[in-house]
Symmetry: D2
Subunit: 355 residues, 4 copies
């Protein structure tokens, strides 16, 4: 199923950009867990457009309403269900998309897949707006992980060819533009604004590090931490690449440089380097789990583009109207955390079965 995922924790995301609401269900969270709704709302705010220069002018309140699964502030064992009403919608902006598909978007593939019955307004179920319910589910998992001493950090690692500097050791969540180096962050913002001015958009990288994971998490083969995280991360619109630890860099080197030697630190075994990103054989080794994912540039750009009119079958120039992010990467940072948290918490529940 495409909008559901999870083995021990099952998440279903529903709604379309312009349907009455978007939301999610979460099944499998143990009963008796406290959920801090204010903290969750604050997490969702990191994803929401707040009118920053790089974000769509469509402001989103995105306050979730819980319909079930909580009782007296705690999980009660029933599935959690939460919704966000869609209010600030402008369906008229999208009327031409039905016949003139946008390059880089799912307009044409959805038209083919659903025989023309897709909800094309605002990108329908393919809209980046659907990452809001993903953040509800992931935000809950982040809280549950935190209670187990597990922290998920992330940052913008690059906008186009401008890379962040410094290691990702502490949270960037308090920053409006979440990079480690503020200097590099400024350069990135300049690039984005320049692209915006050109009617264009920017791609970029998000890096994530998960600290405090117990060793022994994950499974061999298709249940590896890489597989689990990949299944979630590629569910975020615009992600086209994913690497763990040194990732593609590992392919360019030799074994003696890529292997992480074992050592002993404060009486416990650790590795001196972390080229493997904390995962060996799909299973965590107790070091930070690290990965990076590649976001393509927002396909909605205001420059004229070449499309084909589906009614006439003739090439036709397209100029996209509407409100779009010139770069999705800054708002994608908490979404990546949410996706990773879901994968990790699912694996953690699975680990209990084996004990």
């Amino acid at each position: 199923m495409s909008s559901s995922i999870g083995e021990n924790l099952r998440i279903t995301i529903f709604g379309q950009s312009h349907s009455p609401a978007i939301g999610c269900t979460l099944e499998g969270i143990p009963a008796g867990k406290s959920i801090d709704e204010d903290k969750l709302a604050a997490f969702l705010q990191r994803r929401a457009s707040r009118g920053q220069a790089w974000a769509t002018p469509r402001k989103e309140a995105d306050a979730p309403e819980f319909l079930g699964g909580l009782f007296e502030g705690k999980t009660c064992g029933a599935p959690i269900a939460a919704v966000i009403r869609n209010s600030n919608t402008r369906s008229k902006d999208y009327s031409q998309l039905k016949i003139l598909p946008r390059p880089g978007h799912a307009d044409l593939t959805a038209e083919i897949k659903y025989f023309g019955s897709q909800d094309y307004t605002g990108g329908g179920h393919f809209s980046g707006r659907l990452t809001a319910p993903l953040c509800i589910a992931g935000g809950i998992c982040l809280q549950l992980l935190e209670a187990e001493g597990i922290t998920v950090l992330s940052r913008i690692a690059a906008i186009e060819d401008i890379e962040d500097r410094g290691e990702l050791l502490t949270s960037t969540a308090h920053k409006d533009f979440p990079t480690v180096s503020d200097e590099q962050g400024l350069k990135m913002q300049e690039r984005i604004l320049q692209r915006k001015a050109e009617g264009d958009s920017s791609g970029g990288l998000v890096e994530c590090a998960i600290l405090g994971l117990p060793a022994g998490l994950g499974d061999p083969m298709f249940g590896g931490m890489e597989n689990r995280i990949a299944s979630l991360i590629f569910g975020i619109p615009a992600v086209k690449g994913l690497e763990f630890g040194d990732g593609f860099g590992s392919a360019r080197t030799c074994g003696s440089r890529n292997n992480d030697s074992y050592g002993v630190k404060s009486g416990s075994i650790c590795t001196e380097t972390n080229h493997c990103g904390g995962i060996l054989g799909g299973i965590t080794n107790g070091m930070p789990l690290t990965f990076r994912c590649a976001f393509k540039p927002t396909p909605s750009i205001s420059r004229p583009q070449q499309s084909v009119n589906l009614q006439t079958g003739q090439p036709e120039e397209l100029v996209i109207q509407g409100r779009h992010d010139p770069c999705i990467v800054p708002r994608a940072v908490p979404v990546v955390e949410a996706a990773a948290a879901i994968a990790v918490y699912d694996a953690l529940l699975g680990r209990k079965k084996e004990l």
Copy 2:
């Protein structure tokens, strides 16, 4: 479940490197499909070590025996089950691994996960040998895809920093060292032999292109072709990165360069470039589906390495014995095809439900 995967087609891989046999079950293949066992054996030979300089000297016949699921040469609707006996095993080589984990391997993580009960001989269930039953399953899917006009091509795209040249337009399956440019292939082989002589190993990239796919395959969110392929590809030991189309390259550019404009060719809509790797919104657009995956260097190197003795808790030097591939990438090429074929055939079966 970690050794099972698939939604419409369900595959389970079983066995360990030195258990009586390894094998797989496949459920969900429609009845009445012809399986060419000779062709399957030939495909498996591409993965098997045949004593090439870059491969382990452990020769593997790897002829699968079908225990069920076939009747008079065709699928009969029952699950397909096939096994390969493990014969040429030397368990004594591995006795030290129980107490002295190899860097870059799953020895330590398996020890922690399974509380010391893991089958550590030959890497157990984590061994690259388990890609043989994956190739049985994938080899069957390749035949079924071919019958639908779908071809899966692949090649070695790089060994360390030596990249292949030319586009991947035709099969390299007939080559002993499957690159497009034989000249580059020779350079790669030299590098591998040099590493072998140094007691070291090489990483590399495998590229894959799937031709003939209908548009409309795959699903939004977690059912996208990227998610489906990633779930399988990260199940191959040593894969640490995966990118679709331009992948990480897309992150470094702007929307006007990354979007694939629509055009009309012989009356049907196509894109002029293929930066998206044939996938938009998780769904195929009818262009070739392309991806590349990064393999880390074989962690089993003969150079002395630093490990920790699990009995004494003290650092100890490790020298790995046994027969290992100085570079797994050449033998991984058909494995990548197999994994991709499983993901694609599963999506194809799912597509039928919607029609």
Copy 3:
């Protein structure tokens, strides 16, 4: 997962008796299918309490609101999500249940399972009220089956020892008390009212017949039509038994009487009797698929009952307050249809994959 079910069609039921809302998501329905919302509302009315003598006085409007999955009156490929607001709730009625569990209810088992964190108001997620979203999902499936020429009939087959008469050949859906024989129906109603007057309740049987099924539906082993239907039917609260065709009667007879001989009718093969309930080897044979399920009497009775005070650990008499159905069977009839329709439609989608 306990509140999700389905293979090709995935349904998740959420909410509690007194949470803000109850609802469901449905994934896997092909795009472009018309859903008649008025017809669905009429179906839901059959389940709702309308103040009949045998039903709870808690009247339920139960008009579903669709939050996603529909676009211009048709399925659009995205998951369908629908909710019903909980308005007419009286949480104060249930305060004692936390410490004095009701015999025959899930109060004690939920207390143990969820460590006291369960939502105990109104039965929480165990409430019969959760059959309303099941009827949303099933009502949609009934419409889709009807479009394929498949009809689901059902009736009250017995209330306690009073059995209905006549064969189930046409719909009883228009009747307030859905039996084939109105005379027997009156006797049943008298029995229920007598029990109600005694502060007691009645058990009963529901029979279901599915007409128009193609032969070849269902799978061997755990995918048989019996397994599929059982998985759904036992999800209805109070069901304690299920039999297909002659069911328990088959166990009391011999093969020559139980086997259904083959014959030819209008050129096609059929059986002369239908002891097997239209299923052989888990797969439909083209005859009506028939089953009966046993509902225990409503455990909420107003007579004093023996319970144990969970705080003191001492036995204590319990008198249940609140509004309850003296017999759930009449309102369960459409719920059984809904559950059966989900199982059948899921199997039908699965059948397409094999063609």
Copy 4:
């Protein structure tokens, strides 16, 4: 998937009656569990035909060979895979079944489902022989449950209208004909032999009681213990009915008689009666979990029967050749235990996730 089942424990059954082998895979059993292979062989012997008067003369050694998943006598975390070779097969007996389907068998439904490509020899994948690998999986689960203090008892509760007497309180596993009352057992055997002499067969009931279960096992809705057990039990060929506790009897009575009052015994809460079969709201209450299932008479009888020739489309008399059980019920007793054990052990693994 039809031949796979399980949520936390995943089982796949493969093979056909006359294919090279039958077998199973089991995934999800924690590492480090001891499996007693002799004890498992003894359990399988209870299912095997040993030439008793009521069983097929086809003697089956049924000694499983483990191909993977065990290491030094314990589970090692990898999937368990075990096979039984098919040796004593007589394929020629079955040649006519391709064109003259046996009443009560899956011959015709398989022909339709698989478009004539099914393995029809010996019933193929529908054969009762496939319950042998189910017993491998279930026999392992029985051992694991026993280690947790959980016992699964069962017996023949009836052959046709002859019912066993006495309560099922201790194991009948040591008896050749497993009833509680030997006197009733003799009468049942006489009936079976009489049917055999008449070229006919007998149906019957198997009862099962699971002792030592912790309270709190199972889930609401579709994850209830009834649903879980039903999904497995209806996977046994010839099962047409299933009831828990008083089952169909509950439907014939009133709430005040059917509710199980709570009491206190040795300081812990229990019920004085057990009409609910140890399950409330799908969840165990700590009392014995009890159920009964109805087996139809073996459809393979030697009397002439009416069939239809699939080649000519004309009615034709069929006389079944081959070796068949005149009553499958005695040999089905351990199969029911196996199926129940799988369902219970799966639920037990799931329970750990919640703690």
